[in-house]
Amino acid sequence: MRLDLILATFLAAGAAAAQERPVVAVVNYPLAYFAERLAGDGVQVLFDVPEDRDPALWRPMPNQIAAIQQADLVALNGAGYAGWTTRVSLPRARLVDTSAPFAGGYIPTETITHSHGADGAHSHTGMASHTWLDFEQAATQAVTLGGAMTRAMPDLAETVEANAGALAADLAALDARAAEVGRALDGRVIAATHPRYQYFARAYKLEIHALDWAAGEMPDAGQWAALEALVDETGADLLIWEAAPPDAARARVASMGLDDAVLPPLAHRPAEGDFLSAMQAGLDDLARAAAP
C-alpha cells in the first residue's frame, strides 16, 4: 500500500519533470531575476504577486499556497521580508533563506509594542528587509540562491555554475557604480518617500531619512507638510522617489529647492528592462541629481 503510493508519487514526479521545468517560487522580483539569470529557461519562476500589491505585505491565496508548496525550491528573502512565509506551511527541505549568510547584519527598525492582558507589555523588534539594495548583499543572496538551486535541481548545476559568474560580475559592477554615486552624494542629506533604503544607505554611506508616501501618487497636504518638516529638521536637499511621481509633484519638490531622483527598490518587476538595467537607470538618475 505504502510502496504503491511512493511508487505512484515517484512516477507522477517523473512524468511531471518530463513535461515541466522545475519551479522556483520567490517572494520578490530580485530573487526572480537572480533565478532567471542563473538557470535561464531551465526553470519556471513562480512570482504571483499582483502589480498593485507590495510583495512584502502580500498574502497568497490557498491555491497559490498549494502551488508554492509544490515548488522545487522556495526562495525567501529573509530579514522578515514577506511575513506570510511565517504563517504558511512551506517545505523546509526545499526552502532557502537567501540572506541567512548575513543575518547578523540586519538593520533593526522601530519597535512595535503591545500587551496581552495580564502578561504585560512586550515588543517586537522590526527588521529592515530590502536587503538587496546593498548590492554586495544582493550578490550574496544570488550565490545562496544558486547553491540551493544546484542542490535542489542537480540537472541544472552546470547551467547555474556557468551563469553565476556573469551575474556576480553584473552585481559587482552595480555595487561599484552605487559606491561611486554614494561618494558623489557625500555630505548630502537625503529624504526618501518610503522607508526602503536602509541597506542602500548603510552600504553606500548615505544619510537617508524616510517619509511614508504612496508610490507614484501625488502626495497630499499632510505628506507635503511632513516633507517640509523633515527638510527643516535635517536639512535634506535631495528626495528619492520610489516610483516616478506625477510631473506636478516633481515641480513642487523643485520649487522647495530640493533635487530629486527616482530609485525604484524593484521589489516588483519593472515595466521596462530588468533588475540590472532598471537599477542602473535609478543610479544614473541619482548621479544626475547628485551633480552640482
Binding site: M1, P62, A66, S89, L90, E110, T111, S115, D212
Partner: protein
C-alpha cells in the same frame, strides 16, 4: 451420511453444550494463531516504522521515550528540544531535519506539529482535500477522520491540556483541509498541523482582536492595550495579525526526525551527538525497537508456554465433555447394536460428532484468525496506539 445426520441432530438437540465446545475449541485453536499474528504484525509494524525513520534527535534522556514519541507519537514525555537543535542539523547540510511537536491533543487524538516535509518523507498525500497551508489548518489521519466523522471543511479544537505543562495554552480551532489515506501506521491516529500552529496553541504565537492594518504594522509603532485577547480561531481576517514571540531558535520541539542524505552523512551526524555532555542526542529508532521487540518476544515465549498449558487443560476438559456426552449416548449405542449396527457404525456415530465439533471449531477459529489478519494492520496500529 447417516452418522453425520444423527451426530448433527444430537449436537443440535444439546445446542448449548455444542456451542460451548465449539467456542472453547475455536479459542484453543485461534488464540495461539491470533497472538502470533498480532505479535508478528506488531513486530513488523514496529520494525517497519522504526526502520523507515532513520534518525531521531531529541533531548538527552530516555532513548526509548524519545524514539517512541517521535516514531509512534506515544504519550511518553522526552524533554523538549529547541528549534536551535533543528537548525544545527540543517546547518550541517548532512540531512533533512523534520520538526515534531506532539504536546497537544484534540478529542483524544494527538496533534503532531510538523513541516510538510513529513508527508513527502513518509510518502503520503491526502486522500481527500489538501495538505495544511496556513496557520490553523490541519490534516487528519485516516482513523481520526473515520472515528470522528470529519473531513475537509470541518473543524477540531485542541484540548487545553498539554504535555509540557506550559502556561498560556488556549484551545485553538483547527480547520481540517485534508484527510490522509489509511496507512496502518500511527499516522492514522493523529492530527497533523504545521509546527507553527502547534506553537500558536502553546501561546508562543498569537494574533490580536483588532487586526492591525498591514501598512501600519509594517513600519508604524503600534501600541495595544491590555484588552487584547488571544484568539481561539485563526481566520482570513486575523491571520495577518498572528506573530511569534521570542527568538525562533528557542521554540520547543518534542523531537526532530533527521533524514540523512546518505549512510555516511548519518554516521557523521550520529558521531556529533555522542558526547554525553551534549544535552541533545541522536537515536536510531531501528536499534531501539529491535531491542524492544527482542524483549517483547522473550515475554511472548513465556506467553506461548502459558497458552500451551492452558490449551492442554482446555483440550482435556473438552475431551472429558465429549467422553461424558458419549457415556450419555451409551443406551442409544446398545439399541443400535440390537438393531444390527456394527462397531464401525457405532464408531462412526461417535467420530461424526467429534468431527462436526472440530470442523465447526476450526471454521470459527479460521474466521477469527482471518478477521484478525484482515484487520491486522489496523488492530496492530490500535494496539500500538494504546
Amino acid at each position: 451420511m447417516n452418522a453425520l445426520y444423527l451426530a448433527f441432530a444430537h449436537l443440535r438437540w444439546s445446542w448449548a453444550r455444542s456451542l460451548l465446545l465449539v467456542a472453547v475449541g475455536a479459542v484453543i485453536l485461534a488464540v495461539p494463531l491470533i497472538s502470533q499474528t498480532l505479535l508478528r504484525g506488531s513486530e513488523a509494524a514496529l520494525t517497519a516504522r522504526a526502520e523507515a525513520t532513520p534518525l531521531v534527535l531529541g533531548s538527552r534522556g530516555s532513548r526509548l521515550d524519545l524514539a517512541m514519541s517521535a516514531v509512534y507519537f506515544s504519550p511518553d514525555r522526552p524533554d523538549p528540544v529547541t528549534m536551535a537543535a533543528l537548525e544545527a542539523v540543517w546547518d550541517t547540510r548532512l540531512g533533512l531535519p523534520i520538526p515534531l511537536h506532539t504536546a497537544f491533543e484534540t478529542g483524544g487524538a494527538r496533534i503532531v506539529g510538523t513541516s510538510i516535509d513529513y508527508f513527502e518523507f513518509r510518502g503520503v498525500a491526502p486522500a481527500r482535500g489538501r495538505i495544511f497551508g496556513v496557520l490553523g489548518e490541519a490534516v487528519l489521519g485516516a482513523r481520526v477522520a473515520e472515528r470522528q466523522g470529519l473531513g475537509p471543511g470541518d473543524t477540531v479544537i485542541s484540548s487545553p491540556e498539554n504535555l509540557f505543562d506550559l502556561d498560556g495554552v488556549y484551545p485553538l480551532e483547527l480547520r481540517v483541509t485534508g484527510v490522509l489515506p489509511p496507512t496502518g501506521t500511527p499516522d492514522d491516529d493523529v492530527v497533523f498541523t504545521d509546527v507553527k500552529t502547534a506553537w500558536v496553541i502553546a501561546g508562543i504565537g498569537h494574533g490580536h482582536e483588532d487586526a492591525i492594518p498591514a501598512a501600519e504594522a509594517e513600519d508604524g509603532n503600534v501600541t495595544a492595550d491590555a484588552a487584547l485577547v488571544e484568539y481561539t480561531t485563526i481566520t482570513e481576517a486575523n491571520i495577518d495579525s498572528f506573530h511569534f514571540h521570542g527568538a525562533p531558535e528557542s521554540y520547543p520541539l518534542t523531537a526532530v526526525i533527521v533524514v540523512p542524505d546518505d549512510a555516511r552523512a548519518g554516521t557523521i551526524l550520529r558521531g556529533r551527538y555522542l558526547d554525553p555532555g551534549n544535552p541533545v542526542q541522536i537515536v536510531v529508532p531501528a536499534e531501539i525497537v529491535a531491542g524492544l521487540v527482542e524483549r517483547i518476544f522473550r515475554i511472548a515465549t513465556l506467553l506461548d508456554a502459558v497458552t500451551l498449558v492452558i490449551g492442554i487443560a482446555a483440550l482435556a476438559a473438552m475431551g472429558l465433555a465429549l467422553f461424558l456426552s458419549w457415556r450419555m449416548r451409551a443406551p442409544e449405542m446398545a439399541t443400535a447394536w440390537r438393531l444390527g449396527a456394527g462397531r464401525g457404525m457405532i464408531a462412526a456415530l461417535a467420530l461424526a460428532e467429534i468431527a462436526i465439533l472440530l470442523g465447526a471449531a476450526i471454521c470459527l477459529a479460521a474466521i477469527l484468525v482471518i478477521a484478525v489478519q484482515s484487520h491486522g494492520d489496523a488492530l496492530v496500529a490500535w494496539l500500538l496506539a494504546l
